[in-house]
Symmetry: C2
Subunit: 349 residues, 2 copies
């Protein structure tokens, strides 16, 4: 199986603490507050990216437009990691899996001396950062399966309430992009249903999607492990998470997952990496006006810079490759520069 | 694979034309008209079934109620065949598959002399009715795969526009139960999202769900074949339907499918057969007030009678078995009698 772990950027050397910015510690504004703003897309600078979004909404919601889209077909899909929230240096759900290892070993002590669990327990960050992909997959399967869906949801909620990003010293769910929250709100205000289409686990994202993005669980499509229906010792029905991959929602898996879970071709899609390429192709190739956008991480000061135009020494960090950038230009997809298109990055600053 | 064809009642002797009732031929009223009715559930007689629905909605939407459910958790699920529309004597989608055989053989002439296609082409209704389940599965796979999702949608729409039920001489999409359309509308008016959870194919139901039930494609959960992302000869992205079962949405597959596609436990569920048993158990076992209802087909005059209380000579016709009836009574699920609870059956009469 290969959730999103087949990407090379999953666990990088930066598992150690990163320098902390002074970040203003006023209360966090989440998606609900964006709808109170006077003008839509208030955190966007004027420019081609903002213009493309405004023009798309106008053209597809104005009844006199040749590109008018009836409200039942107004669907927009968003990748999560790197598109709606920070994915760097490590995906949020991978951190969750690593943090779950001690509890797992407490339940199954035999794992204490078995790799890769032994390395994770060592707290040797350099060694953990070097774990190969198959080892990470082993950790993912071991920490995400064997419990009921309700036990899993409770564990994730507990973790989200306490875990903090080392750079901003804030819960991971604070590290969502304010300009993208405004896009979600603006599209919904114009009759669009907004879906997350993530390469990571849909069960994980569904725990916080309503609170953080205003997106209900049924509008979260993601990689999915099977669940098995059965009964607990008191005869109550339970669903137990199984080590069997139902849906690998990456690359070609994204349009396939969209068909399975939504059943209609979206009119707008947002991504940031090669994992989103096929989703953007599929959406962009539909009849009438479509919106396909890529977030480019080019702002090392306010977030991170790992986009292709930056000629980073190690371009493997980002999977927004030069080839993807070139395809975007060729197909007329809009590239969003975090540095120049966004007035601010997070709700808290 | 076994979509819903593992039921014994799939293709019955009654493939021949049935006696036609005089049915009034005034224009069809579909779900949209039910919302214009003065009082909710206008086609329901007063009684425990109607009362249970009204009381459930009151208890879960009144903020002062101990069973109040926040709007984001208001989810209701409905089986389709036999719960929302007529399933007897043959499931609508099975008829579609049988009707597609001539077109399939025109494309692949070698199949002309291969069973079970040869029998289907013979138009010998008695022989077709006797085809065993594996033969039907072969027909299902052959007629539902190998084309793009868009080609499939167009074929289904064409068939729905022309095919007619032999008893009522009307399109199959007319044979929906007016009282259930009213339940859908009433629940939605009270903040519930209404989902279809069908044992048959979700791609099929999604073609007409918005028009017939007011339910968008993403609120249709059903058995699902995989699709494969690729490119047509002009390089355009396409999704091709594959002979690989992703989700068998029957029995335990219903709560499993609900988890995969919805991600939250519904507060209300409606079914009519053993295929819905686990869904009702799962919904009924949730905390707080829940509504679990079974439609009993006991009205031979206005529709069909194949419920357990009727002691039909061949009780295998219905999968609403005596055991299911007994479990319903024991667990407090409500049984809806079509004969005594429904003032009328269809929108057109």
């Amino acid at each position: 199986m290969s959730l999103r772990v087949s990407d090379r950027r999953l666990v990088l050397a930066a598992l150690g603490a990163l320098p902390v910015l002074p970040g203003l510690l006023k209360p966090v504004a989440l998606w609900a507050q964006t709808s109170q703003a006077g003008s839509p897309l208030a955190s966007w600078n004027d420019g081609p990216a903002k213009q493309a979004i405004l023009e798309f909404v106008r053209a597809t919601t104005d009844q006199s437009s040749k590109d008018f889209v009836p409200v039942e077909h107004r669907i927009a899909t968003f990748d999560q990691d790197g598109t709606l929230w920070v994915e760097h240096p490590v995906y949020g759900q991978m951190l969750y899996c690593l943090d779950r290892v001690p509890a797992l070993v407490a339940q199954k002590p035999a794992l204490k001396n078995v790799e890769p669990f032994k390395t994770v327990l060592s707290s040797n960050r350099a060694a953990i950062a070097k774990l190969p992909i198959p080892a990470l997959e082993k950790i993912i399967v071991a920490t995400l399966t064997g419990m009921t869906t309700e036990e899993f949801n409770a564990e994730v909620a507990k973790w989200l309430a306490s875990a903090k990003d080392p750079r901003w010293k804030r819960p991971y769910t604070d590290l969502v992009y304010q300009p993208m929250l405004e896009v979600l709100t603006y599209l919904r205000a114009n009759g669009y249903r907004t879906f997350i289409v993530t390469g990571f686990g849909q069960d994980f994202v569904r725990v916080y999607s309503q609170k953080v993005y205003g997106i209900p669980p049924e509008h979260v499509v993601g990689s999915a492990l099977a669940v098995k229906y059965g009964y607990d010792k008191d005869g109550n029905p339970v669903l137990v998470k199984e080590p069997k991959l139902m849906l690998n929602d990456n690359n070609a898996g994204k349009p396939e997952g969209i068909h399975l879970m939504i059943g209609d071709r979206p009119h707008a899609a947002f991504g940031n990496s090669t994992g989103d390429q096929q989703m953007l192709e599929y959406v962009g190739a539909g009849a009438g006006k479509r919106l396909a956008m890529l977030v480019l991480h080019d702002d090392a000061d306010r977030e991170y810079a790992y986009g292709p135009a930056l000629h980073l020494p190690d371009t493997k960090i980002g999977t927004f490759t030069q080839a993807l950038y070139d395809e975007a230009k060729k197909k007329g997809w809009n590239v969003i520069s975090m540095k120049s298109d966004w007035k601010r990055i997070f709700p808290f600053n």
